[in-house]
Amino acid sequence: MVKTEISCIVNDKPRTLLAYPMERLLDVLREQLHLTGTKEGCGEGECGACTVIIDGQIVNSCLVPVAQVAGSSIKTIEGIALNEIQLHEVQKAFVECGGGQCGICTPGMVLAAVSLLEKNSQPTEADIREALAGNLCRCTGYMKIFESVFRACRA
């Protein structure tokens, strides 16, 4: 198999990727676009560290062959801040509440929370727990993460 060109939008910029169609979106983002904010945890869709948003929906980028994002719009953690100096409400809340520890799960947690707020601006505590259920924190710092998202919702 040879590499093929795949056109998509990453963090609002049109990109043409050159990759083997079965390459994981995770690897292409990290190695080709150097967007290393997206992390690899388990590599099998259990932990959510590689979460990105494709066409408005969170996915595990370790389970997406890059051929499937042709024509799609992708958001990674690098594309979440409002601009170079202004963080997203969710990111601000993570800083204020100490929602990040080792940092491996943080980008995925932030994206899961951003996605939740895009779909539901007034989530209940149960909604927040459900939205974060696919993201594991190896430091087990779940309460601070939950508080961060809770604060972002009330901001």
Binding site: M1, M22, N60, L63, A67, G134
Partner: protein, 285 residues
């Protein structure tokens, strides 16, 4: 060891017709949809077949159609789409619940009902609900289409009534105005993200205190998602008494074949299955 990515081919046909052309090529090509299971195998170096047809973008396999008599779910309907559909939520709550309890949201956005069926894991959560609703499935190939009851699709462990050149196109559910009791329980290690130890789905309806309609299906207790027809026979037409309960428990114990594995034990699965059956019948009465 990780799979060697350059050794895989993944072609993306623009239409269903083109995809079926590829699949007609004597078994060289296999379909690749939401990838939530297959990509795990690629990564683990456990996917020996190398040539795949990307069907994820085929519009012909998407969408939920609602008519007065039935609901047609395109094979690529995701768990998220199932949950968002009001008719499914109200009339087929077990399918809604199965979709809600499968994986986390990132998986639900990508995993498809069709994939859940043809991946044929005995531990999958939507098949028991689809069996209890007596779904029909539609298969399509260059030779045409055929429809079969879903209850006849799974033949043995990962063995299905689907040919190399066929794609699962749609799943059909018959709507019913009758007042039915729906009972769905997924038993896992934890509330979120668990894989089932036992999954139990059943519908039932009483008429003049006797069971007038009943369908029972289980996951994770046999080599296939199993519709328990002998247990149903033991119950149909009977009033719900302690004698009926005992007969039903005996029938179910003989019909399922749970095993010890990394997620649970044979004994636990058997006890839980029988208890769930009893709980269902108690609620039905």
């Amino acid at each position: 060891m990780r799979g060697f990515v350059p050794s895989y081919e993944l072609i993306s046909p623009a239409t269903l017709d083109d995809a079926l052309d590829s699949l007609a090529g004597g078994g060289k090509w296999k379909p690749f949809a939401g990838c939530t299971d297959l990509m795990v195998l690629v990564e683990a170096g456990k996917l020996p077949h190398k040539n795949y047809v990307n069907i994820w973008n085929l519009k012909e396999l998407r969408g939920i159609g609602v008519s007065n008599e039935q609901i047609t779910l395109g094979a690529l309907t995701t768990y998220t789409e199932v949950q968002a559909n009001r008719v499914l939520r109200e009339e087929f709550p077990m399918l809604y619940q199965a979709a809600k309890e499968t994986g986390g949201i990132a998986i639900q956005n990508r995993g498809t009902l069709g994939g859940n069926i043809v991946n044929a894991s005995p531990a999958a959560d939507s098949p028991p609900a689809l069996l209890a609703y007596d779904a029909e499935i539609e298969l399509i190939s260059k030779e045409g289409e055929r429809r079969i009851p879903y209850s006849r699709f799974h033949l043995g462990y990962k063995q299905m009534d689907i040919r190399q050149n066929e794609l699962l196109r749609a799943i059909r559910l018959q709507r019913s105005a009758k007042p039915i009791t729906h009972y769905y329980r997924k038993v896992g290690t934890r509330k979120a993200q668990a894989i089932s130890k036992v999954c139990f789905a059943a519908i039932g309806r009483l008429s003049e205190k006797k069971i007038a309609e009943i369908r029972i299906a289980l996951g994770s207790v046999a080599p296939i998602p199993i519709r328990c027809v002998r247990t149903e026979s033991a119950l149909l037409g009977e009033p719900i008494t302690s004698r009926t309960l005992a007969a039903a428990r005996a029938a179910l114990a003989a019909e399922i074949s749970p095993i010890d594995d990394l997620r649970s034990t044979k004994d636990y699965r058997l006890s839980v299955s029988l208890n769930l059956l009893e709980d269902f019948l108690t609620r039905l009465s």
